[in-house]
């Protein structure tokens, strides 16, 4: 019975990832008309599965084992709190990073339960959160400059053809990361607490991500896709692919990070190369506030609830 709670929470969060984060990967592609919605979602689903199966272990291990010695009650509370917070924030349309909430609540519950919490790993993770947007910033900038020197020189037709392919690749990369990093963050604790085996957990998680994408992502993609493509396809690719490479890099290191923030970093990087500030200061302030608020809130809530229950 008690196993149902974390399971439900996992499923819910995975569903949330599908409905919200598909747009990260495919908003640009769809908005640019490179691929149709249904096919995009199918592609997204495939690469999420590939991502988590091929490279999810590192992040899963970091979140599930290295950070907190996860057991069932910790996981239940952590994931439930996360799920509630995520649903609330979606409802209120506030941006909240799935990773931060999960990590925060795991840490909170862990501390309250008196279990070993590796603050070293926590530090590593927080550092990754701070550094990753910057890495994305510079990667995107570098990529943009490189493109200017190479692709720009070709004739228009060539560029148009090449960009289509590149945009698709970029979308695939982000989809892959969604599996290898984001989904792995959720599934990690579930696996390491013994709730499920790795492969079935990965597959079920992917399934629910896919369902979320199929059922609910359309509206988000339409709004965000239109917003992102005010960025021209050229810059859009550099921003997104730069972010994607950054996330892949951190996935290699096993660090769970937010693709959304990396994409913001990427967009800023491209914007800077044109000599203008694309990201407004108050947006950055909001993001920084979120950085502190989200995990702290999750931490406190989980801590409290753990203390109450235990």
């Amino acid at each position: 019975m008690t196993e149902l709670i974390p399971l439900a929470a996992c499923v819910l969060i995975a569903f949330g990832i599908g409905s919200n984060d598909t747009s990260n990967a495919l908003g640009i592609c769809i908005g640019c008309g490179v691929i149709r919605l249904q096919r995009a979602i199918l592609l997204f689903g495939c690469f999420v599965v590939l991502g988590i199966l091929l490279q999810g272990q590192k992040v899963m291990q970091t979140v599930g084992k290295n950070l907190v010695d996860v057991n069932l009650p910790i996981m239940s509370i952590a994931l439930s709190v996360s799920a509630i917070l995520i649903i609330l924030s979606n409802w209120k349309k506030l941006p909240l990073s799935t990773h931060q909430v999960i990590i925060g609540s795991l840490a909170g519950a862990g501390v309250a339960a008196g279990v070993a919490v590796s603050f070293l790993n926590l530090l590593k993770i927080v550092l990754s959160w701070l550094i990753s947007p910057l890495v994305a910033f510079f990667t995107a900038l570098f990529l943009y400059r490189a493109m200017e020197k190479t692709i720009s020189k070709l004739s228009l037709f060539r560029i148009e053809r090449i960009l289509r392919v590149l945009l698709l690749l970029s979308g695939i990369l982000i989809s892959y990361n969604t599996g290898a990093n984001e989904l792995a963050t959720i599934v990690g604790p579930a696996i390491h607490s013994g709730l499920m085996e790795r492969t079935p957990a990965s597959l079920i998680g992917s399934l629910f991500v896919f369902l979320g994408a199929v059922l609910l992502s359309r509206r988000v993609i339409e709004t965000i896709g239109k917003g992102i493509t005010t960025l021209d396809p050229y810059s859009g690719f550099a921003a997104q692919f730069g972010a994607g490479i950054c996330v892949l890099f951190f996935t290699f290191l096993g660090m769970p990070i937010s693709t959304t923030y990396c994409i913001i970093g990427g967009i800023s990087g491209v914007g800077m190369s044109k000599g203008m500030k694309t990201v407004k200061m108050d947006l950055i302030r909001k993001i920084i506030a979120n950085w502190f608020l989200a995990p702290t809130l999750a931490f406190l809530l989980s801590y409290l609830i753990m203390k109450i229950i235990a």
């Binding site: 008309g33 490179v34 691929i35 004739s155 228009l156 960009l163 493509t229 021209d232 050229y234």
Partner: protein, 210 residues
């Protein structure tokens, strides 16, 4: 689906061919207009409205093909606008031809010479526009071609100044004859401006994806 992405470009190629054809028709119409003017041949003038109809239908094909999915959406509106501007050049040419018909193809020698020169420049400009369009898909530099078009346009402007002076000194039998003559010159000189606009749009299309 993957073939469409990698090896496709069929839709884009079709649209490109149609746009080429569109500009070629403008060139043909400009040519027969000039001939009709030189030879004072009314029959030849009829080619202009005929060709304009053909161009109109091609333009519609182009626009619907584009919105059926050719080219990245980012490029689409600029390409459509380009085609519309070329169509406008056509409309002015047709207007000039129809007024010319009414004026009866009888112009004063001095004025006629200048008009033939302008018609010739229009012809050369439309030829250059086609060359310029082709550079979008090749390795040539677009800048050279658009500069050539601007040179022609400046030349037409100079002739226009003189022509206006000559017109103002001319005696007309009645208001309508004067108006038609003035309209004719207006339409004729506007063509070069429109072709220059079109070439500016090519430049915009060219830099939009870099």
């Amino acid at each position: 689906m993957l073939e469409k992405v990698f090896f496709g470009g069929k839709k884009e190629q079709q649209v490109t061919e149609k746009i080429r054809r569109h500009i070629e028709i403008l060139h043909t119409a400009a040519e027969c207009f000039k001939k009709a003017l030189e030879e004072r041949d009314k029959e030849q003038l009829y080619c202009v409205p005929d060709l304009e109809r053909e161009a109109d239908s091609i333009r519609r094909e182009i626009v619907s093909a584009i919105y059926e999915g050719a080219f990245l959406p980012y490029l689409r509106s600029n390409i459509c606008r380009f085609v519309e501007i070329v169509e406008e050049a056509f409309d002015r040419l047709e207007d000039a031809a129809s007024v010319l018909e009414n004026v009866g193809l009888s112009l004063d020698k001095e004025i006629e010479e200048d008009c033939i020169t302008i018609a010739d420049k229009n012809l050369k400009m439309s030829e250059m526009l086609l060359i310029a369009f082709d550079t979008l898909f090749g390795k040539d530099d677009l800048r050279e071609k658009t500069l050539a078009i601007r040179i022609y346009e400046k030349q037409v402007d100079e002739i226009k100044v003189d022509l206006m002076k000559k017109l103002s000194e001319k005696e007309v039998k009645n208001f309508w004859q004067g108006k038609m003559l003035s309209d004719f010159v207006s339409f004729l000189t506007r063509i070069s401006d429109v072709i220059e606009d079109a070439s500016d749009y090519l430049h915009i299309i060219n830099i939009s994806l870099r």
